[in-house]
C-alpha cells in the first residue's frame, strides 16, 4: 500500500513563502529589464515613424504607421557633415578603420602573449606590467601625444592614422587577454616541441595557435566593439568625410539650423550600433566561454 502524505501545515507555509519570494524576484527582474530596454525600444520605434507623427505625439509613442523610408534616406541621401550621401560613407570609414585595427592588434597581442607566457626572459614580467598599464590609462591622456605623432608621420585626418592609434591603444588589452590565456597552456607542451625540433614560430603556429580560438574570439569581439564604438579618437583625429560613423552621428545630432529629424537620427544610431551587436550576437557564446575558460585539459 502506498503511503499517503499527511497534510503538513509547516510545509504548506514554507511552500507558500517560497512561491511568494519567487514572484517578488521575477517582478523586480522584469521591471528592471523593461527599464533597461526602454530607450532602445523608443529609438527603434521612432526610426519607423513619420516626422509629423513624432512632432504631434511626442517621442514616446506607438507608431501609427510603420515606414522603412527613413532607413533608406538615412543610409545614402541624408545630408551630414557637408555631404549628402547619407550615413553610408561613414559606415564604410568605420569598417575600414575597425577591421584592420582589430586584426592587427589581435595578431600582435597573440604574439606578445605567447612570448610573455612561454619565452620569459629577464624583465619580461616588468614589461608585461608596463604593457598592461595601458588598460588603466584614460583615453584623453593620450590625445596630445597622438596628435604630435600623427602630425609627424603625416597621417593626420586619415583612416590609416586612426588604425595606427587603435592598434597601439588596443595592445594592452589584447596582450593581457592572450598572455593570461597562454599561461594556462602546459609548459611541457612547449618543452616537448622544443625537443621535437620545433622553433619559436613553428611552436606558435602548430601548437599555440590551434589552441587559441577561444581567446582570439574574445579578443576580436572586444577589439571590434571597442574600436567601432570609440568616438573620442574619431572625433579628435578626423573631420569631414574622413570621420568614422560615431563621430558623424555627433554631426548629425548637432546639425544646427533645421528641425531635428528624429526618425532619421534614430535609424542612423541603429545602423551605427548594428555591427557590434551582430558580432556579439554571433560570437557572444564564445565570448563568455573564453572569458571564463582557464586551463586547457
Amino acid at each position: 500500500m502506498s503511503e499517503v502524505a499527511a497534510y503538513d501545515p509547516m510545509a504548506a507555509v514554507a511552500g507558500w513563502r517560497y512561491r511568494r519570494a519567487r514572484i517578488g524576484v521575477y517582478v523586480i527582474l522584469i521591471a528592471v529589464a523593461i527599464y533597461a530596454i526602454l530607450p532602445l525600444l523608443v529609438i527603434i520605434l521612432n526610426s519607423f515613424r513619420d516626422l509629423d507623427d513624432i512632432a504631434h505625439r511626442g517621442l514616446i509613442a506607438i507608431p501609427l504607421a510603420f515606414s522603412l523610408d527613413h532607413w533608406g534616406v538615412t543610409w545614402n541621401k541624408f545630408c551630414v557633415s557637408g555631404g549628402c550621401n547619407g550615413i553610408a560613407p561613414f559606415f564604410y570609414n568605420s569598417l575600414e578603420m575597425t577591421i584592420p585595427a582589430t586584426i592587427i592588434s589581435t595578431i600582435i597581442g597573440a604574439i606578445n602573449g605567447y612570448i610573455l607566457s612561454m619565452w620569459r626572459f629577464r624583465g619580461s614580467e616588468i614589461l608585461f606590467g608596463a604593457i598592461t598599464l595601458g588598460v588603466f590609462m584614460p583615453g584623453q591622456m593620450v590625445l596630445l601625444p597622438w596628435a604630435i605623432t600623427l602630425g609627424s608621420l603625416g597621417l593626420t585626418n586619415t583612416i590609416g592614422g586612426l588604425v595606427l592609434i587603435h592598434c597601439i591603444q588596443g595592445l594592452s588589452f589584447t596582450t593581457l587577454f592572450c598572455r593570461n590565456y597562454y599561461v594556462g597552456i602546459p609548459e611541457d607542451l612547449i618543452k616537448a616541441a622544443r625537443i621535437d625540433g620545433a622553433g619559436f614560430w613553428r611552436i606558435f603556429r602548430k601548437i599555440v595557435l590551434p589552441l587559441s580560438p577561444p581567446i582570439l574570439i574574445v579578443t576580436v569581439i572586444w577589439q571590434f566593439t571597442g574600436i567601432w564604438n570609440d568616438f573620442l579618437i574619431g572625433l579628435v583625429f578626423s573631420s569631414g568625410s574622413g570621420q568614422p560613423i560615431t563621430a558623424a552621428l555627433i554631426g548629425l545630432a548637432t546639425a544646427g539650423t533645421s528641425v531635428h529629424e528624429y526618425n532619421v537620427e534614430s535609424a542612423a544610431v541603429l545602423i551605427g550600433a548594428l555591427p557590434p551587436l551582430l558580432i556579439y550576437f554571433f560570437g557572444g557564446r564564445y565570448f563568455l566561454r573564453g572569458l571564463t575558460q582557464g586551463a586547457i585539459k
Binding site: K191, A192, A193, I195, G199
Partner: protein, 372 residues
Amino acid sequence: MASLSVRRLTKRFGPVEVLKSVDLEVETGEFVVLVGPSGCGKSTLLAMIAGLETVTEGEIRIGDRLVNTMPPKDRNIAMVFQSYALYPTMTVRENITFGMESRNVPKAERDAAVARVSSLLHIDMLLNRRPGQLSGGQRQRVAMGRALVRDPQLFLFDEPLSNLDAKLRVEMRTEIKKLHQGLGKTTVYVTHDQVEAMTLASRIAVLHQGAVQQFAEPRTVYDRPANMFVASFMGSPAMNFLPAEIVADNGRPAAQLSAANGSQARLPLSADWARAVSTGQKVVVGIRPESIGPHLHNGIASGAEVRTLEAVIDVVEPTGAQTMVLVRVGDREVITTFPSDATPKIGEKASLAIDMRKVCLFDPSSEHLLQR
C-alpha cells in the same frame, strides 16, 4: 664508452642550490633511474640533460659531445613527460610525426616510422584519434611512441607512470622494461617511486638535497645502502633503525640495543665485523622488515645466520601476500614481516628471528654505512 657523462654539475636558481656538483657516468645501453623524494633535484637534472634548463657549472656530455649550451633539438635525445605533453589539437599520427616534420624527414620515411612504432606499442588503431579521446594508458603509449620514433642516442623519462592508476602502472612498467630489453637504448628515467627504480634500473642513482647519495646496482642500493637516507628511502615499509652500542660477547662483537635491557636484546655479530667496529662504539642497526620475522619463517630459516629477539605484537597489517606486523622491542617500534598464514595476535609475545647477513650498521653521527 659512456653515453652520458655528467661532471660536477651544479644548478643554482638565484641563491638556491638545486644540484650540488653531481657526477654521473651512464654506459651505453644502460637503464639508469634517478630516484629521490620531491625537491631532490632529479627532475632538474633530467631537464638539464635535455637542454631545457641551463647549466650553472660543470659539464654534460652526450656521447663525446659537450652539450652544455646546445639546444634540445640538436642533442639527439627523446623525452617522455609526466603529463605526456601530447599536442592536444593534433591526431596521434601528427603527434608522432611532429618531430620528424620539424626536421624535414621525407613523408615515406615518416610513414614507415609511424608504422613501425605503432605496431610496437599497439597503437595502430588510435592513429587518427586526438589525445582527448584516449585513455590514460593509451596517452602514455602515444607519448612513448613519440619518443621511440626518433631512434635517439638517449631516452629521457620524467616520471612517466605517475599519472596512471596502480594496475596500469605495473603493466606499463613491465612494458617499458621489455622495450628497453628489446631496443637496448641508453635511458635515464626519473621517478620518486622506489619500486619502479628497483624493477627497472640497471643502476640506480639516489638523489637527496641535490647530491647523489649512492649510484649502484639495485641489489647493492637495497642491501648495502650507502647511508641511512638511502636505507630509509629504498624499500617499503622502510628499514628499521635501532640505536645500539658495540659490546664484547664471547670475544666477538655484538650490538647491544640501547633501548632494551636484558641479554635477549643483544645481537651477536659475525666475526667479519670485528675489524669494522670496536667495543663501546655507538652504531645504528638497520634491519629490513623482511629480514626479521617469526622463527620458522621460510625465507629466514634456510641457511641464514639467525639471531632471536623478544618482542610484543602491537599492530597487524595484512597485505595479502604477507602480513606486516609492528612489534615493540623495549621502547622501540620495529616493522616485521610474517607469513600471511601465521598472523599473530595483538598483545602476544613473540620470539623473532633476524637474518644477520642482511643487517646493516651505520655510524650514528655521519649516518654512513659501516663496511665490514
